[in-house]
Symmetry: C2
Subunit: 195 residues, 2 copies
């Protein structure tokens, strides 16, 4: 974590397990990695189109304002949420999308992975696409220790599905192995470039 504040926004459709991802990441970093973390869901008129959004703010210091301001990382599990939240990314931020649901990627620094397709093909269960995405996020952001992410996942998952969720997490870590995000270009457009 370069700066003192790292903001992640998870977004997608209701039913894609968006909030679960955020809670597991927040517990891994806050309880086990022992940083300051705020995890937030907000509901307003914009949240009623079937989209789901959850945020995690991580800091080495107490967090004054717990909602995301300019995100360092956006996960978009569908096109609607990608379109809705992409402009909230920092120019040097990172967009991660499920390439099965997001065709148009309006941001240079992006990684597209078929999370849901991997879940269906490799794990025979569409429901774990969120844990694959969480693995990818952990690997690309390096914001959380994998050991502590596994701990939090176990604490937040019914014992029956622990095995498949852990497999999904590791499939997610593997899925982005070939990506070198330092080589991605910086986005040239930003609505609130510092003066």
């Amino acid at each position: 974590m370069k700066d003192d504040r790292y903001e992640i926004r998870f977004s997608g459709s209701g039913g894609q397990g968006i909030i679960t991802m955020a809670i597991i990441l927040a517990e891994a970093v806050g309880v086990y990695d022992q940083k300051y973390v705020c995890q937030t869901q907000s509901y307003g008129p914009e949240a009623r189109g079937g989209t789901s959004k959850a945020e995690v703010v991580i800091s080495n210091k107490p967090i004054d304002y717990p909602k995301a301001i300019k995100t360092d990382l956006l996960l978009a599990m569908n096109q609607a949420s990608c379109n809705a939240y992409c402009s909230g990314l920092k120019p040097q931020g990172l967009l991660i999308v499920d390439s099965g649901f997001v065709e148009q990627i309006p941001f240079n620094r992006a990684v597209a992975i078929p999370f849901t397709q991997i879940a269906i093909k490799e794990l025979k269960n569409q429901m774990v696409a969120n844990m694959i995405a969480l693995g990818a996020i952990a690997s690309l952001s390096e914001i959380v220790s994998i050991k502590n992410l596994e701990k939090a996942l176990k604490a937040r998952t019914p014992q029956k599905t622990e095995g498949i969720n852990l497999k999904a997490l590791h499939a997610g870590l593997q899925s982005v192995k070939q990506y070198d995000i330092t080589s991605l270009p910086e986005s040239e457009t930003s609505e609130d470039e510092d003066v």
Copy 2:
């Protein structure tokens, strides 16, 4: 909701389903009742003693600051969390405790119900004490429609446990039927009485 902002804090031990309560209430009010809602978990040094805390802020207007400032309602599922968060209540606020785990109640406007004991005796499952508490909160606060709370519960609960969770919710509604909170005295001590 008298004021434009209503703040609820859920607290207890890890494993008591504190965050689940908050998420279900937030979805019921935010998605189905269509108010503005922020639901937050914060993790810092204080969160590492095995206590769990989750907050829901409800408003008719967009919410500027999503964390609880002075709470209207505090649920304390154990003594440690009761002691930790009681001073954050408004003088006219309401404290609800699990009387099986909270013996000392440091606030006048309090309702003590044996949530966990009801869960064990009536529903043969300690795990649904949180849904009983959520039913009690819904009844006493009148902040959410019961129909929409049921909808959110169904959306957030594995189908297998939907039945017992709904039963627990209604046991919670019943458990506080005899309470008239308008008759409770206002707390006379407040750290930040308005000047």
